[in-house]
């Protein structure tokens, strides 16, 4: 199956490049698509003409905060700058790729990354959280790795708020429903209740994968004449959002069907995709590969092309659709789950198709790699996109957002310790201390987490050496030698609110300690920076301080950040969440048999308190 007949000859008011050149004054819905005036002007400048509808769709999604990191980029640079050669010695792939890769020795490498799926998980908790797991797992596959475990740091609203159960039950069931179906053990996570997350829960998901060095794959399209293929689920109207303004592209009277506001995950399709990709890697059948997440085909084509050495030509009517009413712009923007794009040499096409057929995965050959340096997308032969892919994928706008220490910061820091809401003083007498301790341990945040962890499979794979209730999750990588990895995630929104610089460092320190106490040597960091709106100077300051703190602390500890994710605009109305940098630390075991579980093991053992 290579073409989708129903899309050919569909009547659209196709806005070709030729047409765009001839009609410079056409009104375009750039504002509705989220572009600012200066950004739209920049697009026009880059192209030397107005964009076509399809180009506008691509630039608008790729230049969004989510895809371009336009507010955080200037600060994130510190993760790349504050590193020594010593810190880089085990880094095989650094920041910038889908996920960083760290050398484990013996020819093994490990890749891990953490991402957010916060707002979808508020709208539809089950599916939002499920597709969060799906997305991060595809990032790991696209590096050439076999995913081996997941983790899920979570933050929900107040435990007694009527809406919290809806979000929490849905999100936990969704993470379990998707992750369990993939055969990935869940080896840890976090769970915090706090009213600041009431209208904006945090659902972060981490995935870790392992591979042999020779299997590392990067997202680039090189080699003129190589074929570009899209495989996995069909493209639907997912993630384009409600009544799409791109509907105006549509020319015929039949209105496009409604675009779904939420995405439904298909974990079975993803499991098959994992096995299918691993078989492709094993046979060395793909040159480059990219998962489709945010910005879908726009992102995959422009990133593959701009990371490669040439260009790319794609015929969009070849794309297999779930919804035949999609317009070209919508196809480019769709965020349908469980899809991958790959570059395959002509000699490998037949072998590639055999793997797809074995796993009953649908695919469509979309086009090929060229040496023109241009990304050209056609619709039934007519050119609707003709861009320098770098301008879409890499050279988006970058902002130096103003930031300043909030006026209220001092008063927040001045607050005294309170053993309880009523008691403003520091407890001293034994009875007061007892009361404070009782209150502390009766906090919902100190509760037993097994209600959550019992809904997750921690055994599948047979390599889980530690999981709930230990401080770090541990998985074995090599059955012969016992080589393995430990992972922990931590964040403390309240500390970070009090002092973003040190709060972020404390999160790192805690994750680092959790890994170290398991017996592993900490090696690498990934982070998910959950903050409010960067357009608020207070929030921007929190973000800048947290990144500065984290990068400084990484220097001190001597472990590099290999990748991560920034999630901004986490707020209800204008009230931001507490700044919540979730930090994941990965450590290495030469032999996981040497791990140390937490908890007392035997009678008569001595207890020591270490540190200050």
């Amino acid at each position: 199956m290579t073409t989708s007949a129903e899309t050919v000859g569909k009547k659209f008011n196709i806005d070709t490049v030729e047409n765009a050149a001839k009609t410079p004054d056409t009104e375009l819905p750039w504002a509705e698509l989220g572009l600012k005036q200066n950004e739209f002007d920049e697009v026009v400048k880059v192209l030397g003409r107005r964009p076509t509808g399809a180009e506008l769709a691509m630039y608008s999604v790729m230049w969004s905060e989510h895809c371009s990191y336009k507010s955080s980029k200037n600060h994130l640079r510190q993760f790349g700058e504050k590193v020594t050669d010593e810190m880089k010695k085990d880094m095989l792939v650094g920041i910038g790729e889908n996920a960083g890769v760290t050398n484990l020795g013996d020819g093994w490498a490990v890749t891990f990354k953490i991402e957010s799926h916060n707002s979808p998980s508020f709208v539809e908790p089950y599916q939002g959280a499920a597709t969060g797991i799906g997305g991060i797992v595809r990032d790991i596959i696209s590096m050439g790795a076999r995913p081996v475990a997941v983790m899920d740091p979570l933050r929900f609203g107040a435990i007694d708020h009527p809406d919290t159960a809806r979000v929490m039950h849905g999100a936990v069931a969704g993470i379990g429903g998707y992750g369990n179906s993939l055969g990935l053990p869940n080896i840890g996570g976090e769970m915090v209740f706090d009213s600041v997350y009431q209208g904006n829960p945090l659902v972060n998901a981490l995935a870790v994968g392992v591979m042999r060095h020779e299997d590392i794959r990067l997202a680039n399209a090189s080699g003129k004449g190589n074929k570009v293929v899209l495989f996995g689920a069909r493209t639907g109207g997912d993630g384009i959002g409600g009544a799409s303004v791109l509907a105006s592209e549509s020319f015929d009277d039949t209105k496009p069907s409604k675009r779904p506001a939420v995405q439904v995950g298909d974990p079975f399709a993803e499991k098959v995709l994992i096995e299918c990709c691993l078989e492709l890697f094993k046979g060395s059948l793909v040159e480059g590969i990219q998962d489709l997440g945010a910005a879908g085909i726009s992102c995959a084509t422009s990133e593959l092309a701009s990371n490669g050495d040439g260009g790319m030509e794609v015929e969009l009517t070849s794309c297999l659709l779930r919804d035949p009413t999609l317009t070209p712009g919508e196809i480019l923007m769709s965020e349908s789950q469980e899809r991958m794009m790959a570059v395959v040499t002509p000699e490998n096409v037949a072998a590639f198709e055999a793997v797809m057929d074995k796993w009953a995965v649908e695919y469509s050959w979309l086009g090929e790699v060229t040496d023109t340096g241009r990304l050209i997308i056609t619709w039934d032969g007519e050119v609707i996109v003709d861009v320098d892919p770098r301008t879409v994928a890499h050279d988006g706008p970058v902002y130096d957002r103003p930031y300043a220490r909030p006026e209220w910061q001092d008063s927040v820091q001045a607050d005294a310790f309170t053993g309880s809401v009523q008691d403003a003083g520091r407890p001293s007498a034994p009875a007061e201390l007892a009361a404070a301790v009782t209150e502390l341990i009766s906090s919902p945040n100190m509760c037993d987490k097994s209600w959550i962890t019992n809904q997750y499979d921690r055994y599948v794979g047979g390599n889980t050496a530690m999981a709930m209730p230990d401080d770090a999750g541990v998985v074995r990588v090599d059955e012969e030698t016992g080589l393995g990895v430990a992972l922990a995630t931590d964040a403390n929104g309240r500390y970070t609110y009090l002092d973003p610089y040190h709060g972020a460092q404390l999160a790192l320190a805690e994750a680092y300690r959790n890994v170290a106490t398991s017996g592993a040597v900490p090696m690498a960091v990934s982070d998910c920076l959950n903050f409010g709106s960067p357009e608020d100077p207070d929030v921007m300051w929190q973000l800048a301080e947290a990144i500065r703190g984290l990068s400084d602390a990484c220097m001190v500890l001597g472990i590099p950040v290999t990748g991560g994710n920034v999630s901004l605009y986490n707020q209800t109305g204008t009230t931001p969440i507490h700044p919540s940098p979730v930090v994941a630390v990965l450590g290495k075991f030469d032999d996981v048999a040497r791990r140390t579980p937490s908890g007392w093991r035997e009678d008569g053992q001595a207890i020591y308190l270490l540190g200050t």
Partner: protein
């Protein structure tokens, strides 16, 4: 006793993984006449006594609020069936 039947289907524009898996399996069993399948839910609510307008209205409301998830599903049918 009379029952009220409530039928809920995934919204047409939303992916239905179950239907997709079934439509893939049918031809393998020799059933080749179906081009797509969607799987939804059927609820049967038993009413003690007579189905009044008020009870039917309750069923409709329960269908919209509890029995279906309006974000991804549509209530396609609410009807009374005498047993």
């Amino acid at each position: 006793m009379p029952r009220i039947v409530v039928d809920v289907m995934p919204k047409p524009e939303i992916l239905d993984p179950q239907g997709k898996a079934i439509v893939g399996a049918l031809p393998r069993l020799g059933f080749t006449s179906f081009s797509s399948v969607r799987q939804g839910k059927r609820f049967e609510l038993t009413v003690d006594g007579e189905v009044t307008e008020d009870i039917l209205a309750q069923a409709r409301e329960a269908a919209e609020t509890l029995l279906s998830n309006p974000v991804i599903e549509d209530v396609v049918n609410v009807e009374v069936v005498e047993a």
